[in-house]
């Protein structure tokens, strides 16, 4: 594929608001996970990665119909790191119909519906009058919200393939740009805490009672997080700074195995990584760091680790940053692409946090401490529930 430029990007997660806070936390190997006290969820012994200040950040009056936690988190993200202005400039440069909006989410504004069900009319069972389905609950609402917030008129869509959603948007946007439908795209993802996810993963017995420990021999489940991650993707400018970050390749595959557990040998994962290498025209030896999916469930890390070892041996430093951010589900692909971009720009490899004893049965080079090594090309994995896989390769422009 033709390389594309991540011309602007920003993230909000439990590590903080914006790139500076995110980078500082990664540098300090801090985790943003804390015991779960979200909303009315007081009966789950688990840790979560909650973004600070979402409840205190209402939407502007002109966008009030979109009011829900997911769109609030989106709006908070859009205000950071000059992203707002960058999109405005892109719309002025290319035209409002030439900027696409392709975002990932798994649960959109479902929290709004969960809360509305508690307020059903006792006599009729009707939902309250103030509940608006289209702009909150519907899976598309976050892309519609962003398109409306910027007065864009181009193609838009939400990709919802669970935990690979906001990685797959890069592949879809690259195709739209290659096809000439658009000149730039807002990609990334927004997923926010809700009861469906917390009680749902609890029902699968996949929640850890402690901050999650990716690739630890004693890992025992994941920690749910939330995030907004936005990237402006466009064709590379004629001259780029050496530390400009490019999307070099994307690879997609399916497990065709099971709804909620990965292929045991990580076959789908391996196919996605191979497809990304092929799209980028690269060999395994060209990759300097892998940001793993690394959810800290026993089965994910074993399957992914097996796939990574098969393709890369133990030569490539790897880590999962979910010990720091939690698993941000539909936003994870976008958030981890941004973490990968920071690693490329700042010249360091983020070590995984919370992992005390790396699983000796997974023969990969798992980092538990940051390394001052400047990667040139990074691979980022995102694998979803239902077996939808996506790997991205990012690289420095130099």
């Amino acid at each position: 594929m033709n390389s594309l430029w991540l011309s602007h990007f920003t993230a909000a997660s439990c590590l903080g608001h914006g790139l500076e806070a995110t980078l500082a936390a990664l540098r300090a190997q801090k985790s943003g996970l804390a015991p779960c006290a979200f909303e009315t969820v007081t009966d789950l012994a688990t840790y979560i990665g909650e973004v600070a200040g979402v409840d205190e950040a209402p939407l502007p009056a002109s966008l009030a119909e979109y009011e829900c936690r997911n769109n609030r988190l989106a709006y908070l993200g859009l205000q950071q790191d000059g992203f707002n202005a960058a999109v405005g400039a892109a719309a002025a440069r290319y035209g409002r119909r030439r900027v696409g909006v392709l975002l990932g989410t798994s649960t959109s504004g479902i929290l709004q519906t969960e809360q509305a069900y508690r307020r059903r009319d006792p006599a009729t069972g009707a939902l309250p009058d103030d509940f608006i389905y289209r702009t909150t609950h519907n899976t598309y609402s976050v892309a519609d919200f962003v398109r409306s917030a910027f007065n864009l008129e181009g193609p838009a869509v939400v990709v919802s393939t669970a935990c690979s959603s906001s990685a797959k948007v890069f592949a879809s946007a690259a195709r739209m740009i290659a096809a000439g439908l658009i000149d730039a795209a807002i990609v990334g993802g927004v997923d926010s805490l809700c009861l469906t996810t917390l009680y749902g993963f609890n029902s699968l017995e996949l929640l850890s009672a402690e901050p999650c420990r990716p690739y630890d021999a004693d890992r025992n489940g994941l920690s749910i997080g939330e995030a907004a991650a936005f990237i402006l993707l466009e064709r590379p400018a004629d001259s780029l700074d050496a530390d400009a970050v490019l999307l070099l390749g994307a690879g997609e595959s399916s497990d065709a195995h099971h709804m909620s557990s990965p292929h045991p040998e990580g076959l789908g994962a391996r196919m996605a990584m191979s497809a990304a290498l092929k799209a980028a025209g690269l060999q395994p030896a060209d990759i300097d760091y892998i940001n793993l999916h690394g959810t800290a469930t026993p089965s994910n890390d074993a399957a992914e680790g097996h796939a990574v070892a098969t393709l890369f041996g133990n030569q490539v430093p790897c880590s999962s940053t979910k010990g720091a951010t939690g698993h941000t589900l539909g936003a994870a692909g976008g958030l981890e692409a941004i973490i990968s971009a920071l690693a490329l720009q700042q010249g360091f490899l983020p070590g995984g946090v919370n992992t005390h004893r790396v699983d000796p049965d997974i023969p990969i080079q798992y980092l538990t401490a940051n390394q001052q090594r400047a990667p040139r090309r990074v691979l980022s994995n995102s694998f979803g529930f239902g077996g939808t896989n996506c790997s991205l390769i990012l690289g420095r422009a130099e």
């Binding site: 069900y117 598309y140 869509v157 393939t161 096809a179 009861l195 029902s203 699968l204 195995h257 239902g386």
Partner: protein, 265 residues
């Protein structure tokens, strides 16, 4: 780049529209449309444990997908897949919200894994064995158009054969009052980069400003307006007539999609 593909197979299910061969004369205006409740069987291609867990949305998606693949004499394992729906398993969504609003918030693992928007794609992979890329989209009422655009970019840019599966099902109350979808519906198109003996037509899609085409038959037009994936019906009507045509489909205002149809036989 031209966003073009050869259409090798069609799958269709809707009220009074049992499958593509049965619906074709109705859409072409050669047979009357008679609305009746739709029934769809659980897909036999799924293992029994998975088959028991499927709701209406998954059954519709798999049925129309399989119809399109069979009609095109294609191997599903060789096709990428694009699933697009305004909702997902909407009965399941209601059931989860009810449990979460009750005193006992324990939801079942099956309820949870069927709650993801990509559940039909997951079951499709299990049923077909396809390890090819599958994506799952939502664009509210523009979901048919969004799915068609994604599928066409896959064919045109990647050179893949891509199966587009669009589907919707009603919500039960109380969500039905907020999002009134009157019936379940599904359309699948097998879109290929090269012409084959099975090719029905070549279609070329572009972004447009024109108002979307309406259907002359009032009940079918009511379905088109009320069900997001049924907004693909003007395309199917033109294909049913079998001649060259241009149709305009709903997408995301102010954009619509213009589709040039060149019949292959």
């Amino acid at each position: 780049m031209k966003l073009a593909a050869y259409l090798d197979g069609i799958g269709l299910i809707g009220p009074g529209l049992d499958n593509w061969p049965a619906a074709r004369p109705i859409l072409a205006g050669a047979a009357p449309y008679e609305s009746r409740p739709l029934t769809v069987a659980a897909p036999q291609s799924l293992p029994p444990a998975e088959r028991r867990r499927t709701g209406v949305a998954i059954k519709i998606a798999l049925a129309v997908g399989q119809e399109a693949v069979a009609a095109g004499q294609l191997d599903a394992r060789q096709l990428a897949a694009v699933f697009s729906s305004s909702g997902a398993d909407n009965d399941n969504c209601d059931a989860i919200c009810k449990v979460l609003a009750s005193d006992d918030r324990h939801i079942s693992p099956t309820r949870f894994h069927n709650s993801v928007h990509n559940a039909p794609a997951g079951y499709w992979g299990i049923a077909s064995g396809a390890m090819t890329p599958a994506t799952v989209l939502c664009a509210h009422d523009g979901s048919f158009g969004a799915g068609l655009l994604e599928a066409l970019t896959q064919v045109a840019v990647e050179g893949w054969g891509t199966l587009l599966v669009t589907y919707d099902m009603p919500y039960p109350e109380p969500l039905h009052a907020k999002r009134p979808l009157p019936a379940a519906f599904g359309i699948a198109l097998a879109l290929m980069p090269e012409r084959s003996a099975q090719s029905l037509a070549r279609i070329e899609v572009s972004l447009a400003d024109a108002a979307p085409d309406a259907l002359a038959e009032p009940e079918l037009e009511a379905l088109r307006r009320a069900i997001p994936c049924a907004r693909g019906l003007p395309l199917l009507q033109a294909l049913a007539r079998g001649s060259n045509a241009q149709v305009v489909l709903d997408y995301l205002a102010p954009l619509s999609l213009a589709v040039e149809i060149e019949a292959c036989r």
